[in-house]
C-alpha cells in the first residue's frame, strides 16, 4: 500500500476525508461513498422486512391466531411488501453496486451529476422515514397491500397518505438515479470504451435506468391521484362518484410491471459479470445478452395487464397481453442459456460468489417457468390471488434479485472494503439459504395450487401441514442469512487485506487498488479491448489469484 500513497488522488476513498467526522459521509458527492450510504440504509430496511416476514410465517403456523391478530397481519404483509419492494429490491443493485461500480467500469471519475446523486440518497431516506413515521400515527399502519388498490385505499381509515407520499418521493429518487446513469453512460465513458466494450453490468444498468426514467412518473401521478382522492374526493378513482377503479390498476401496473424489470435486470447484469470471472473465459454471446437487456426493457413495457386477467378486460386484450407476456420470457431465456454456455468448458473456480449465482440460476428458472403458468390465461384464472403467485414472486425477486445482491456483496466485497471475508463460512451459509428458501417457498406453490388464497390471516386445517414446513423453512433461511451477514461484518472488522484483484477479474474495477482511490483512476484509462478479454490478462493475474 505504501507505494500507492505518493499523490493525493491515490488516497483510498475511505481515507480521503475533505470534511470532518460524519459530514465526510453525509455531504459526500463521491459515488463510492454514496453507494455505501445506500447499502447501510438498505440493510436496515431489509432486516426490518425480514423480521416482519418472520412474524408473518410464525402466524401461519396454526389455522387461527398464533401471534398477531388479523388487522395486524394485514399491516404486516403491506409493510413487508412496501419495504422490500420500494426500499430494497427496486433501488437495491443500481443504488448500491451501480453507484459504486458504474463509473469505475466505464473508466470515469464519478457519475455525471454527483450532487444530484447525493440528493437521490436523501430522497431515499426521507421516503423511507415517511413510511416508518406513518406506523406511529393515529389510525394505525397501512393495510392495503403494497399495491394500494382503490377503492379500498380510499376508504380505509389507516394511514395511507404518508406511505403513499413516501413511495412518491422514492420514485423521484429512482428517477434522478436513472437519469444520472443514462447521462453518465452517454457522456463519461473513457476514450476507446465503445458501447460494445461496456461490461454487461453497465448495459443492464443502462437499460434499467431507461425504465426508471420512462415508467416511474406514471406511478408517481397515480399515487398522487390516490392522495388527492383521499383528501379532496375528486372522484377519479371513486366508483361512487363515477370514477373507475380499473383505471387505477392499469396506471399502477403500467409502472409496476416495468418495475419488475428494474428489479431483475441489474441482477442479470451482475450474473454476467461474475460468471466470466469464475469460468475464466469471455462471456458467451456478449451482444445478445446486451440487446436482450434492452429487449426486456422494451417488451416489459407492454405486458402490464397480465396482472389483471381476472379484473375485467375484453377477451382480445387478455389474449394480446398473454401473448406479449410469453414474448418477454424469450430474452430472459436467452440470457440463462448464454450464462450456462459460458460455464461450459470454462475453467471453473467454485468460489462463494459463483455458488450464489448458481443458486440464482436454479431458483430464477423455477420462478421464470412458473411465470409462464401465470401468464397463460386458463391456468391464471385457477391460481391467481393464491399462494402460487406469492411463491412465483418470491422465486424471481428473492431467488432472483436478492440472491444476486448477496452474490454481488461477496464478489465486490474485497474491492469495496479492501478486506476479505471468510470463504469457508460464506460457502457454509449457502446450503441453509438454499434449503430454507425452497422449504419456505416451494410449499407455497403447492398450497397455491391447492387453493390457499394469498393475504389470508386464517386458513382451513387441511393446509396446516404445508404451512408448518414453510414456517420451518423460514427459520432455516433466516439462520443462513444471519451466518452470511455476520461473516461479512466480521470480515469487515477483522478480515485480512485483500489485494487489488483477488478473483482474477478483467473489468476495470479490478485494475485499480482495493479499496479504490478517491478519484478511481489517477489517469483516465484508454480502452482497446472488450470487457472480458481473459487471454490478455492471463499471465499478469496468474500469480495474484488468492487461494486461501
Amino acid at each position: 500500500m505504501s507505494n500507492e500513497t505518493n499523490s493525493a488522488t491515490q488516497l483510498s476513498y475511505l481515507d480521503y476525508k475533505p470534511k470532518k467526522g460524519i459530514w465526510a459521509w453525509l455531504l459526500t458527492t463521491d459515488h463510492k461513498r454514496i453507494g455505501l450510504l445506500y447499502l447501510i440504509g438498505m440493510m436496515i430496511f431489509f432486516w426490518v422486512a425480514v423480521g416482519i416476514g418472520f412474524v408473518m410465517k410464525l402466524e401461519m403456523l396454526t389455522p387461527d391466531q398464533t401471534v398477531v391478530d388479523a388487522q395486524t397481519y394485514n399491516s404486516l404483509f403491506t409493510l413487508h411488501g412496501l419495504i422490500m419492494i420500494f426500499l430494497f429490491i427496486i433501488p437495491g443493485l443500481p443504488a448500491v453496486f451501480g453507484n459504486f461500480f458504474l463509473p469505475i467500469q466505464i473508466g470515469a471519475h464519478d457519475v455525471a451529476f454527483p450532487r444530484l446523486n447525493l440528493l437521490s440518497w436523501y430522497l431515499y431516506i426521507i421516503g423511507g422515514l415517511f413510511a416508518l413515521v406513518s406506523l406511529h400515527l393515529q389510525g394505525g399502519p397501512i393495510d392495503t397491500g403494497w399495491t394500494f388498490y382503490v377503492p379500498y385505499s380510499i376508504r380505509t381509515t389507516t394511514n395511507v397518505i404518508l406511505p403513499l407520499l413516501g413511495a412518491f418521493i422514492l420514485g423521484f429518487s429512482s428517477i434522478l438515479t436513472g437519469l444520472n446513469f443514462v447521462t453518465t453512460v452517454h457522456r463519461l465513458r473513457a476514450p476507446g470504451m465503445t458501447f460494445f466494450r461496456l461490461p454487461l453490468f453497465v448495459w443492464a444498468l443502462y437499460a434499467t435506468a431507461w425504465i426508471q426514467v420512462v415508467a416511474t412518473p406514471i406511478v408517481g401521478i397515480t399515487i398522487l391521484l390516490v392522495v388527492i382522492e383521499r383528501v379532496l374526493h375528486i372522484g377519479i378513482f371513486d366508483p361512487a362518484l363515477g370514477g373507475d377503479p380499473l383505471l387505477f390498476q392499469h396506471l399502477f401496473w403500467i409502472y409496476s410491471h416495468p418495475a419488475v424489470y428494474i428489479m431483475i435486470l441489474p441482477a442479470m447484469g451482475v450474473v454476467s459479470e461474475i460468471i466470466p470471472t469464475f469460468a475464466r473465459r469471455t462471456i458467451f454471446g456478449y451482444k445478445v445478452i446486451a440487446f436482450s437487456s434492452l429487449a426486456i426493457a422494451l417488451i416489459g413495457y407492454f405486458v402490464w395487464a397480465h396482472h389483471m386477467f381476472t379484473s375485467g378486460m375484453s377477451e382480445t386484450a387478455r389474449f394480446v397481453f398473454s401473448l406479449l407476456t410469453f414474448l418477454v420470457a424469450v430474452p430472459s431465456g436467452v440470457k440463462v442459456f448464454n450464462w450456462v454456455a459460458t460455464l461450459y468448458k470454462g475453467s471453473i473456480e467454485l468460489r462463494a460468489p459463483l455458488i450464489y449465482i448458481l443458486m440464482f440460476i436454479f431458483l430464477f428458472s423455477i420462478g421464470g417457468l412458473t411465470g409462464l403458468v401465470l401468464g397463460s390465461l386458463a391456468t391464471n384464472v385457477h391460481v391467481t390471488d393464491t399462494y402460487f403467485v406469492v411463491a412465483h414472486f418470491h422465486y424471481v425477486m428473492f431467488g432472483g434479485t436478492a440472491i444476486v445482491f448477496f452474490a454481488a456483496m461477496h464478489y465486490w466485497f474485497p474491492k469495496m472494503f479492501g478486506k476479505m471475508y471468510n470463504e469457508k463460512i460464506a460457502i457454509w451459509a449457502t446450503p441453509f439459504i438454499f434449503i430454507g428458501f425452497n422449504m419456505l417457498y416451494f410449499t407455497m406453490f403447492i398450497l397455491g395450487y391447492q387453493g390457499m388464497p394469498r393475504r389470508y390471516w386464517s386458513y382451513l386445517p387441511e393446509y396446516q401441514e404445508l404451512h408448518i414446513i414453510s414456517t420451518i423453512g423460514s427459520w432455516i433461511l433466516i439462520f443462513g442469512l444471519v451466518i452470511m451477514f455476520s461473516n461479512l461484518i466480521f470480515g469487515l472488522i477483522k478480515g485480512r487485506r485483500a489485494d487489488s484483484n483477488p478473483w482474477g477479474g478483467v473489468t476495470l474495477e479490478w485494475q485499480i487498488p482495493s479499496p479504490p482511490p478517491h478519484e478511481n483512476f489517477e489517469k483516465i484509462p484508454v480502452i482497446d479491448h472488450g470487457p472480458y478479454d481473459f487471454e490478455r490478462f492471463k499471465n499478469e493475474n496468474k500469480n495474484e489469484i488468492d487461494r486461501s
Binding site: T5, K17, I175, L179, T183, H186, P217, I218, I221, L232
Partner: protein
Amino acid sequence: MKSTEVEVVQEKIAEKQQEPSHSEHTHKDFFGAKIGMWLFLFTEMLLFGGLFLAYMVYRLQYSIDFVIAAQDLNLLLGTINTIILLTSSLTMALSIAAIQRGRKALSIFFLLSTIGFALAFLVIKYFEWTAKFHHGIYPNSPELLNKPNGEIIFYGLYYSMTGLHALHVVVGAILLLFMLLFLWRNKIHKEDYIKLENSGLYWHLVDLIWIFLFPLFYLIH
C-alpha cells in the same frame, strides 16, 4: 497505511482544495447537463401523461357531461392566461439570447418580465378558482355532488390538472428567481449560461403543458 502518512496526504488535499481549480470543477459538461434536463422533462411529460390518459378515458365515458361542465369555465380568463404564458416563453428565450451576447442588464430585464408573467398567470388563476368556489364548484362540495357523475369527474380533473400545472408554474418561478440571483452575481455569464438555458427548457415545458390543457378544458365543446 500508517496513520501519519494519512495525515500528510490529507494536508496535501486540504492545500489542494484552497486552489480554485479543484479537479471536480475544472470542466463542465454542458451537453451532459442538457441530456439530464431533457430526460427530466421527459419524466414531467409522462407525469402529466397519466392525467391526460385519465382525461381521455373519462371524456369517452362521459362526453355529454364534459361538454356541459366545460361551458361554465371562463373562456376569457383562460385565453388571457394562454397569451400571458406564450409571451413569457418569448421573454424567457430572449433572456437566454441576451446573455449569449453578454448583455447582462437586458437578460435580467427579460428574466424579470418572465417572472412577472408567471405571477400574473397565478393571480388570474386565483381569481378564476375563487369565482368557482363562490359558485360552490369545488371537489366534494354539496353543489357539485348534486350534478351528474361526469361533471364531478370533469371538475376533479380540472382542479387536479390545472392545480398540478399551477404548482409547476410556482416551482418554475422560484427556479427563475434563483437564476436571477445567479445572473446578478455573475455566476451565469456569456461563457456559462447552461443553468439559465435548462431553466428556460423547464419554463417552456410549463408553457407547453398549458397549451394542451387550455383546449381540452376551455375550447372543446
